[in-house]
Symmetry: D2
Subunit: 481 residues, 4 copies
Amino acid sequence: KQTPVTPFKQPPAAAAASKDLPYMYDSTVEATRLFDCLIHPVKPKKFFSELWEKKPLLVKRHMPCYNDGWFSTEELDKILRKENIIFGKNIDVTTYSNGKRETHNPPGRAYAPIVWDYFQNGCSVRLLNPQTYSHNVWKFLSVLQEYFGCMVGANIYLTPAGSQGFAPHWDDIEAFVLQLEGKKHWRLYSPRNDGEVLARYSSGNFTSADVGEPILDVMLEPGDLLYFPRGVIHQADTPTDSHSLHVTVSTFQQNSWGDLMEQIVPTALQLAIEEDLEFRKGLPRDYLSYMGVVNQDSDNPERKAFLRKIEQLMTKLLSYAPVDAACDQMGKKCVHDSLPPVLTKAEEMCSIHGNGERWDTKLNTVRGAVELEPDTPIKIIRKGVLRLVGEEDQVRIYYTLENARLYHDTEPKFFEISADAAPAVEHLIFAYPDFVTVDSLPMKTLPEKTEIANALYEKGLLMTDEPMQAVDDSSSEDEDI
Amino acid sequence: KQTPVTPFKQPPAAAAASKDLPYMYDSTVEATRLFDCLIHPVKPKKFFSELWEKKPLLVKRHMPCYNDGWFSTEELDKILRKENIIFGKNIDVTTYSNGKRETHNPPGRAYAPIVWDYFQNGCSVRLLNPQTYSHNVWKFLSVLQEYFGCMVGANIYLTPAGSQGFAPHWDDIEAFVLQLEGKKHWRLYSPRNDGEVLARYSSGNFTSADVGEPILDVMLEPGDLLYFPRGVIHQADTPTDSHSLHVTVSTFQQNSWGDLMEQIVPTALQLAIEEDLEFRKGLPRDYLSYMGVVNQDSDNPERKAFLRKIEQLMTKLLSYAPVDAACDQMGKKCVHDSLPPVLTKAEEMCSIHGNGERWDTKLNTVRGAVELEPDTPIKIIRKGVLRLVGEEDQVRIYYTLENARLYHDTEPKFFEISADAAPAVEHLIFAYPDFVTVDSLPMKTLPEKTEIANALYEKGLLMTDEPMQAVDDSSSEDEDI
Amino acid sequence: KQTPVTPFKQPPAAAAASKDLPYMYDSTVEATRLFDCLIHPVKPKKFFSELWEKKPLLVKRHMPCYNDGWFSTEELDKILRKENIIFGKNIDVTTYSNGKRETHNPPGRAYAPIVWDYFQNGCSVRLLNPQTYSHNVWKFLSVLQEYFGCMVGANIYLTPAGSQGFAPHWDDIEAFVLQLEGKKHWRLYSPRNDGEVLARYSSGNFTSADVGEPILDVMLEPGDLLYFPRGVIHQADTPTDSHSLHVTVSTFQQNSWGDLMEQIVPTALQLAIEEDLEFRKGLPRDYLSYMGVVNQDSDNPERKAFLRKIEQLMTKLLSYAPVDAACDQMGKKCVHDSLPPVLTKAEEMCSIHGNGERWDTKLNTVRGAVELEPDTPIKIIRKGVLRLVGEEDQVRIYYTLENARLYHDTEPKFFEISADAAPAVEHLIFAYPDFVTVDSLPMKTLPEKTEIANALYEKGLLMTDEPMQAVDDSSSEDEDI
Amino acid sequence: KQTPVTPFKQPPAAAAASKDLPYMYDSTVEATRLFDCLIHPVKPKKFFSELWEKKPLLVKRHMPCYNDGWFSTEELDKILRKENIIFGKNIDVTTYSNGKRETHNPPGRAYAPIVWDYFQNGCSVRLLNPQTYSHNVWKFLSVLQEYFGCMVGANIYLTPAGSQGFAPHWDDIEAFVLQLEGKKHWRLYSPRNDGEVLARYSSGNFTSADVGEPILDVMLEPGDLLYFPRGVIHQADTPTDSHSLHVTVSTFQQNSWGDLMEQIVPTALQLAIEEDLEFRKGLPRDYLSYMGVVNQDSDNPERKAFLRKIEQLMTKLLSYAPVDAACDQMGKKCVHDSLPPVLTKAEEMCSIHGNGERWDTKLNTVRGAVELEPDTPIKIIRKGVLRLVGEEDQVRIYYTLENARLYHDTEPKFFEISADAAPAVEHLIFAYPDFVTVDSLPMKTLPEKTEIANALYEKGLLMTDEPMQAVDDSSSEDEDI
């Protein structure tokens, strides 16, 4: 019988944080560890070379507790009681029976008894963005997003016994289904043609006739995992003797080469036109007479020359492709899409999140000021918490820390730094997860080094290796004693 | 020495709820009690006849704890650490010195140490909408809004010793200043002319030269109250030996006869035009030659007749004035502006907020269904929680329960009921705070009565006199035993 | 047998202009004369006291040429060939048969042969805004608008024999139907209830069943006139032996007391709130509990007091009613809606439209400068060509001269004058149709007088009593000789 | 002494039309002839190989009448009197003196005396879009646009003696300056760097210091021509003894390879993503860590592989480039930008513009119906009058005929035809300038052939070789005789 890799009663992120010393903490390592657990016993290397974006993966674990800690029906009940969950916005109640998919959302708030009433009457319940309400889902997803280098989302699905909530369809994301409670019978089907493979947009609902024979037909039990790529058609129902609860972790939405090319190509063309006279020259005076669909079958020599010229210009485009700037734009988008990190107590104590001035109720005054010194060891608080982007003639730092847990509830957050300070930020990025001293930052003068360090610190982006001592505390605490 | 009317260490709303049996709870009574405390020892009758909207009121209590429970600098520190408070949106840091008012907000999140740094450097701190973050402020304001029949808001002001945060100005609200910590020196000035009395919009900043001699010059200490009407110019600074913390409770913004008239008058005119031929008749063919500012001084007889005709039409307007419908629109606006109520444990247990189906983790199933019976005593959960409005040929119930604690963060919430059910809702409104049975609702059949009762119950608007027993629990619980 | 009042072979406006000396020209007189002809032999006094806005008027003239000069099918043919007339925008082809109203417009330009093809196939042709293309229609309407003091429009209707183009309906304008060619059978029906009398908006299409028995059933022949008020239901068809052509002249759209009240009432309320403390006082704290539709039948004394208070405030509104300013707003709208005037040769020669600097091709230079002298007699070029309006703390002159012949194709045109110059403009307005000298304008200094006179002259709004002599022409022309 | 190629007293377009038989008329030939005259005695072949988009061309003709027929100051005076010319919209009055460029437009209508007053005071006058008001300018430009295969525009510049109206600057068009009256002194300057050559957008104003030494310094006299490419800096002033009038004919605005590429490239990428799996595959999981400006100098092997992959995808793009569809989009834009053609009397009589049903005033009925027969010879009325475009799963014919003379005053005009009819339209396009019979159109049945021919005829796009005889006229005209 298998052993869980991590004692999942305590969620792995928390486990990692508590086991390690804070100054050793590396969000990249933690992300890797969490993903390893997710697909265990399959190895990542094998997963990414043989399965990822290619075929489904089923892991039957025979260990019901393996996925514990993610979510439970009990937590759903609590969320419905405590949070302002709105039908149609945060939660859906749906059925799929006799080939018909229906949504039954009443208007207004989803009070627990109303949701349970629908559930008792055979409706499936889908909780959207559970990371907004569930601390653990938030924590897991915020760690996984560092692993995938792009947004990681989730939905929760609760299905009563003997029912199905959704019609056969495909999604636009890589899906990791983690079975949490009860059982669910899944059927997966191949994309029906090449154009549907790794489909860019989700499909509509299919009928049984549309989808043919399943390529996988399996019963998931608690602890099991099912992965399948975007474009794979799927449907799932519950046996008559058991409800089902699972979380679907999703990623790689709009994160393809084509998406990056959409950043690169229009800008490349603008640059080419600005810089290359060939692109600014006038078209042949009479090209409209031999070009156009009407002339498609003509073998006019001017037409051929015209087509060769287009070929030559397309080839030239490559040399103007702003690949790195486009990647930074993708990175900026990723930062905006991301959840803010769940900071550990230790991280808080070593950063502005938990250290520094506070109100002293006894003394009726502010106490606890701290100051970065030249020899204070600092590092970026999490690998994925910021991105340095050149934009509109500015150097900007985009960061995740002030994002809401609700997707895109805040605008992209950034601040500008001077071009001179960029190497200092790069130094911190490359040094991660190691600490460097303020004084070691590659800038000319100490005041400049301190200034950029303070700017990052005050945005919550830096942590020290241990909690800084308050400059005003030693004496006063003495007095207290 | 004065005694506090209510032991305010325990906030009065909570006190009231815990002392009384829930089925006796009357939100109107509680609201009255809270307002009595607020202005104690002044009596409400005297207050409203002699002071309200007329002159300032100062209550020196010599009892520092009198306003306890509202808020503290300690709570501000906690909020800054826990919530995503944003400079310029939720909080401001300001100064007023040498006659110059400045706002010093940096961009981004107001981490506690940054706020305290500004405070140490002489900035005043204003926390907007503290009800969004402070449970007690939320509770007090949500009770007071039932008293005033319109939105009640608040700001928190924290000022360091020896400073002033704001220039002399007037506000567009009735202000109740409750001194919480430290001391503050206030100066009040009369409106400078009749047009400024009960001003409809807040003023800009004044200079000392603008405002003349104060009509009140006083030092507030913890426990004290200062009330003044909208339009009264004021400024306040701290002595050099003490910081100051106060909450300003505000109400009656855009709640004047004129505001109501703005609802009535345009609609009255539309109705008159639709129903009264006099309004649809053509203007005199040549009126443009004797009317208009150019002809203002003319005593042309046609001109006089024209003016008499206008007078006659203006008089006729009154008979088309939709006063009740306009009041309902004001009531609907009030419902949208309002905070949701802070329900007591007892209220929750007697309503959908705490009773009814829940997930039974041991049995892995839903349990606890309850049902309104013909003889179940019911009442509206709070007097001010809903408003019945006729609108767009529908009967609608607007309600506060799904409002966010953040002002206008949700759209107005309503649902439609059938015209036949309106008398049943009216019956419940008039019966408040008494319970009536489902069967006593003035509708024809029991299924109709049950349907409207269930509709209200499922929106969280009804409570029963005691927690209903689950219909599925008796037997199963027996089995458990 | 009747004699035409005016020899209409020569259109009356042109006739008037040519008969009179230009310095005697009075657009008010001409407008009166044209309207007298229109309804002849009915007298205006009788028309306006007994018929206008009350009942239909039929004038059978037995003089086929009486309406000549307005329009002809021949002119329609020319317009279709010369102008870019677009189906659905400028022209409609329609049928009404077997109780069904249809529009048959193809997309694109209405080339004459296409229109005639539809006509041959039984379609009625409606030309919208003929004043844009027909010089005479423009001239007549621009004169009539001075008579009615508001916009006067027109449509042309051409109907093939034995057909009907439109279903029974009512319009939102006072209609004057002038039969031009062929015959048309008209049926008029009373408004079906009081609310439809002088209806504010046009109706949809009716069936025969909707409209009952006609109150008038008549055959129009060339030279005849039919007038009926807005709200009167009508339909018309052609006999099998004759096509029909008529023009419908329309006026008094949105020109009722109610329309003026819509200008007055909201502003009156804003002024009352600004100036009258009663309007700024707060509403009673608990009014929402006794007001509103729910309480409609209550005889609560507070409720009665509340209603009395509303009555009192409504009455007070009258004293804040800005009647003259509202009339000026109506006048401004009328100026924007109006056609520009058709100036006579004489008017052109006595104004900037025809006098002043011009390019001298022989001399290759500019010649012909003219100058207003203190003793130059001046008057406004047409009574209705401008309106003086106080607005946004400015004195503005709105004017029709730069309006397009296409309705609202230009923005309202105005220019600002100094407040000091307003009496001078008023002087010119009151003096009309008489001339006054520049020097007689009521301003302090001659340069000021000349400045305002020049400003009006350069906008084309002033004319002199005779063509001014060029200051550079006398000597130079002598030299030429 | 030179002889004019065409007797330009009679404008060349009119001359061409009157000389040739209408059935021989070929708009391409006429366009060529007009351009030949324009640059005469330079030969087009030489012009396009050596000068076009490369260097300025000066033709001193010593024949003052050579450019006659385009425009004159006399015509400007007439336009100002007749048309509603608005300052700032249709005309500008400007000065450039002491290095300062100023616009002096007053608001409102540009009455002739006001314009001449500014002119007398040293202002230059620029008339925009003279083709809207001048028949000849319209005619010449509408012919030239067929030559250039893209929009041809014009401005008129009138400058008083001893002045300059504009600062040194470059434009975004190929400019042909035709001197019409008086003299003008021009100075041209090279683009200051490679990026300014054939500049895509017009420049701001330069100072003398910015522009250096002129590459051309010349006095233009009536009959002369000056051509220079976009991006060439220029300025011009008048000698003290002569005013100047010239027209600048402009073309090739936004008509470069780059503009075409902007049509091609985004669509190519969308097609590639839809059709090519490589573009839909996910990005490498950790690419954000080695890509981006921060990593620009890294020689990480993954980075190199990433860049190679981009190169490979860019190369693949070419095979998805929709060149013909993009050219059709350019053609559609050209059709929308174009002036409608000025049809000759002959063209009118052989098309719907002048032939077909008309109102017979004597008979009071419609006469003159014509019908395309199987053997009727037809051709497209002008080569450039339409474009066949595949768009949104439709085959559409975009056409210029309903465009206004005012630039973009109408929406793009098109109608849909069936896919089956496309070859018939192509047949007509390829046959131009020859006639083909209706029956020869490549469609299956005669009714289909007649239907598409009628559709084109009714849109005014077809002409017959001679005026068709009316089917209803023979007998009736006999009777008339």
